[in-house]
Amino acid sequence: MTECPECAASVESHDKIVGEIFPCRECGTELEVNAVEPFGVQPAPHEAEDWGE
């Protein structure tokens, strides 16, 4: 478990993997997993204009 860097809510690792993107349950900020042992998150990269399919 770690804290959301935006709102400090607790964030659980479950079966998340490095690089995975998910929203904080409390504030909705998109987070990116940057480590699993120990579990760590950072704000996800912002969508760029060339992002897509």
Binding site: G19, I21, E49, D50, G52
Partner: protein
């Protein structure tokens, strides 16, 4: 798989799609090298330790393209190859190619200056749609209803400054039902299809369109496979609209998302992709 074969998974971020691909590879015993697009460097000499095939899932079109060019240079087969990313990643080039292959596509006019853009919009007629040549998820698309809005939208687009916004890709607004079709092609097979419905004229799943599995009849199958083949083939999502004159192909997506499609149809799309990539790597 114990013969040393390795699949390289090239990513910016891990979305549900990439997680599904990792799970599908694990389920098939395919070892995966995870490659973060923000950490790689590419020299001109071929480095050691390359994977046997690269599955290029970078969410950035620019990064995906240059990585594909580099890996192809090193002799690693890439899904999708750089030529496919280059062509299908550019809507203008895709439109020309679809037309060359006789594939029905919306009427399109390209202009290289704001002055010509006004004429291009008049040639297409109202309402028209202005789209960026590179881009997804309905981003920066504009429906142009009349000459007044045309002038304002062209002015705003010009003010964005970036070179790609100085090229104007104008397309007819196809009068379709409140839905379009997404058909997922892997190699020479259509693996799944769905309707995307929305009250918004942009029916992108990323914009919250509702989805439903679509039957794949012979006409839809043939058109989707021809469109995929027209851009070079591989793993591609072909988007079609049901226009007054029949089906038209409006996009072929070279790094497609498939979370909604897999959930809607129950098809193991990640599994199809992994098996296709392994096949490409073993050719």
């Amino acid at each position: 798989m114990s013969d040393g074969f390795r699949l390289g998974l090239f990513t910016t971020i891990v979305r549900p799609e990439e997680k599904a691909i990792l799970a599908a590879a694990t389920a098939r015993g395919v070892p995966v090298d995870r490659l973060d697009d923000g950490e790689q460097t590419f020299g001109l000499e071929t480095p050691a330790g390359l994977p046997d095939v690269l599955l290029d899932r970078s969410v950035s079109h620019t990064r995906a393209l240059y990585a594909a060019i580099a890996y192809a240079h090193y002799g690693v087969p890439v899904v999708n190859p750089p030529e496919v990313l280059e062509l299908a990643g550019d809507k203008i080039r895709t439109s020309f190619r679809l037309s060359e292959r006789g594939i029905p596509t919306p009427r399109t006019v390209v202009a290289l200056s704001p002055e010509a853009a006004a004429r291009a919009i008049e040639q297409v007629g109202y309402p028209a749609v202005l789209k960026p040549a590179v881009g997804s998820w309905g981003r920066l698309m504009a429906k142009v209803d009349d000459a007044g809005s045309a002038e304002q939208i062209v002015e705003h687009k010009s003010a964005l400054g970036a070179p790609q916004h100085s090229i104007f890709y104008v397309q007819e607004f196809v009068r379709k039902p409140d839905r379009d079709l997404r058909v997922f092609v892997v190699g020479d097979e259509v693996v799944a299809a769905m309707y995307r419905a929305s009250s918004d004229w942009r029916t992108n799943a990323a914009r919250g369109a509702t989805t439903a599995a679509a039957p794949v009849g012979p006409e839809l199958r043939e058109l989707a496979l021809r469109a995929a083949s027209a851009v070079g083939g591989g793993v591609l999502a072909v988007d079609l609209m049901e226009g007054p004159g029949g089906l038209v192909v409006h996009e072929v997506n070279p790094t497609p998302e498939f979370k909604s499609l897999a959930a809607t149809t129950g098809v193991d799309i990640a599994g199809h992709i992994v098996e296709y990539a392994v096949g490409v790597g073993r050719r």
